[in-house]
């Protein structure tokens, strides 16, 4: 068996006045050969013998032909001899393909700045357009489903609740607990100097119920779920599963998007409540250790000065956040194109856009609440 790892040589044989190729002319030895060609100063009439070649692959043949061409350009006579018929065939074949080898793919067209701005604008507009279409067909499907309960896909909704809600419970609990601790610590530092330690319950309660718990939950869910939706729908699209549904006359919106949206809508308020509990726990613990505010005092103050109403104000944000996360996730999933890069970039986009929209929505809520004097 020939060993392609062995070396290749291009030597001048003085006795017979010709050049000899020896060894394994394979892709691994191309660099060595090229160097040897460079070091050789050729005579006016060159005879090259291929009798000593043990392994000859297309890279070896190509490098030899390249050398022959460069010699011919210098007006030298070149003769190839003693190549075995198989090697000759290979050389002949590559010779025939010569014109294809020098093909340079056309360079990508360069566009002016205005063109790029225009392109980006239409791109963004078509995205908005697509999102509106998605929302439209989503509401259409949901309303249609009311006429026929079977179409709500309850098993699918349940599995979405499991994966987007139940599985997220530990991480949400941990993070909101830590936020509660940090929040109470920062506020406690200030309150302590004024001797107003008992206000810790009011301050941290307000902040947690109205802002922190909903926002932390939304951020975690956006990171976990919106990316998962995009990747799932995206790979279904690449695998032509979406097309398969369409050709069966089934609606991918109804079968894939509706259960995701409804599942998240259902579980999201519960997740916020879960985050409320653990943030308050964190704050309570910190108040006890740092400010010596007892658990019972904390809870009583919380109930009296903050109350259920503030907690509800946080929970009212849930449907908006849930809709944004699930819609953006699904929408970006449908925009995936059939290549691996696209799944990655759309997933990134879906998380970034979901976070962006969540912050915007949160700001709108704040404005509306302040108008309503809540």
């Amino acid at each position: 068996m020939t060993n392609i790892e062995s070396t290749a040589c291009f030597l001048f044989n003085k006795d017979q006045n010709h050049y000899v190729c020896e060894g394994s002319w394979s892709i691994l030895n191309v660099n060595t050969l090229n160097k040897q060609f460079k070091d050789t100063t050729a005579l006016d009439s060159v005879k090259i013998s291929g009798a000593g070649i043990t392994h000859f692959d297309s890279a070896g043949a190509l490098v030899l032909l390249q050398y022959v061409h460069s010699l011919k350009k210098q007006k030298k006579q070149v003769e190839l001899m003693e190549f075995n018929p198989k090697h000759q065939d290979l050389l002949k074949l590559i010779e025939e393909k010569q014109d294809a080898l020098t093909y340079t793919p056309p360079a990508p067209q360069k566009h002016s700045v205005l063109y790029k701005i225009g392109l980006e604008t239409t791109h963004k507009l078509s995205q908005v357009d697509g999102l509106i279409v998605l929302i439209g067909s989503l509401s259409d499907k949901i309303f249609a489903a009311f006429a026929e309960w079977r179409r709500f896909q309850f098993p699918s909704i349940m599995s979405n609740i499991q994966s987007t809600g139940l599985n997220a419970l530990p991480i949400i609990a941990l993070l909101s607990f830590l936020i509660g601790v940090v929040l109470a610590y920062q506020m406690g530092l200030q309150l302590e100097t004024y001797g107003a330690s008992i206000f810790i319950a009011y301050l941290s309660g307000m902040a947690i119920f109205r802002e922190f718990a909903p926002l932390i939950t939304a951020i975690i869910v956006a990171g976990r779920t919106s990316s998962a939706f995009t990747a799932q729908i995206g790979s279904m699209k690449i695998n032509e599963e979406i097309d398969a549904l369409n050709t069966m006359g089934l609606s991918p919106i109804e079968l894939i998007v509706v259960p995701k949206v409804l599942g998240l809508l259902f579980i999201f308020p519960l997740l916020i409540f879960w985050a409320d509990i653990f943030s308050i726990l964190g704050a309570m613990l910190m108040s006890k250790f740092m400010l010596q505010v007892g658990y019972l005092d904390f809870i009583t103050r919380l109930q009296d000065s903050v109350g259920l109403q503030q907690m509800m104000l946080g929970l009212y944000k849930a449907p908006a956040f849930a809709l944004l996360i699930s819609l953006v996730g699904c929408f970006q999933g449908f925009r995936v194109e059939p290549n691996a890069d696209s799944v990655g970039s759309q997933t990134t986009k879906s998380v970034v856009q979901a976070l962006f929209l969540i912050i915007i929505a949160d700001a709108i809520f704040s404005v509306v609440y302040s108008w309503m004097d809540l």
Binding site: Q66, K86, L93, P105
Partner: protein, 245 residues
């Protein structure tokens, strides 16, 4: 030269709660074109995957180029991988790269060739497999299925392997392209001294280009002989396979 390129002894594979292979014995000589055929689900591709070290066999010994693949260390396994090329059933081209970049990719990673030479070599492979040169700058998603298959073949040939595995290379090609592909395989075998292992259902292509055909059924190689003899084989499974032709 007497040593076979691939030698499989007592290969067993247990997958998905069933025995796919109970006792596969197969030996392939250098320069041969061998096809592996058999009914759907008989484990044709699994044999390839076992040989290619993509899947650890449950039991058995596989020797490639005279080396037992189960005892290779990482480095010699990589050296081994450099000496074979595989054309996957669904092409498996890298979707984010153009055809040219796909073919140049293994060269870039495994050799230190100069860029212009690498490009020339890649273009050579593109024209060898019969793709128009304009296809070089296209993404796989912009090509038809048949052209993707050719591009994948070009990538399999990128490192000038001594051993080429083809998983259903002509499925989904039009008859003319499929015959061209057969000629290409024959030509490459002669020109590059290749050993080729084909998994295929395309009887026309098997008749044209294989030296021997291994028929797999009941988890074993039931026969390994030239297609002419195989078609006359009286073994019930084999007879049934060919009965509708």
């Amino acid at each position: 030269m007497s040593q076979p390129v691939i030698e499989i002894k007592g290969l067993k594979n247990y997958l998905g709660n069933q025995w796919v292979h109970s006792d596969v014995n197969l030996s392939i000589e250098k320069g041969e074109i061998v096809a592996i055929i058999g009914g759907s689900g008989s484990g044709k591709t699994t044999i390839l995957r076992s040989v290619l070290m993509l899947q650890k066999p449950t039991a058995g010994k596989i020797t490639v180029f005279g080396k037992d693949i189960s005892t290779l260390n990482d480095q010699s396994a990589d050296e081994m991988r450099r000496r074979w090329g595989m054309l996957f059933q669904h092409s498996a081209l890298f979707s984010g790269m153009t055809v040219l970049e796909n073919i140049m990719f293994p060269m870039k990673e495994l050799t230190s060739l100069e860029h212009p030479f690498m490009k020339k070599l890649a273009m050579l492979k593109i024209s060898l497999v019969g793709l128009p040169k304009e296809a070089a700058s296209k993404l796989p998603s912009q090509l038809s299925g048949g052209m993707q298959r050719r591009a994948a073949a070009a990538r399999a040939l990128a490192m000038d392997p001594e051993l080429l595995f083809l998983d259903e290379p002509t499925t989904g090609l039009d008859p003319y392209s499929a015959r061209q592909f057969d000629e290409l395989i024959l030509f490459l075998r002669d020109a590059l001294d290749l050993t080729v292992v084909i998994v295929s259902h395309d009887l026309e292509s098997i008749k044209r280009c294989t030296d021997r055909v291994a028929f797999i059924g009941e988890g074993k190689i039931l026969a390994l002989e030239p297609i002419k003899d195989l078609m006359k084989n009286k073994q019930p499974l084999i007879a049934e396979y060919f009965s509708k032709f």
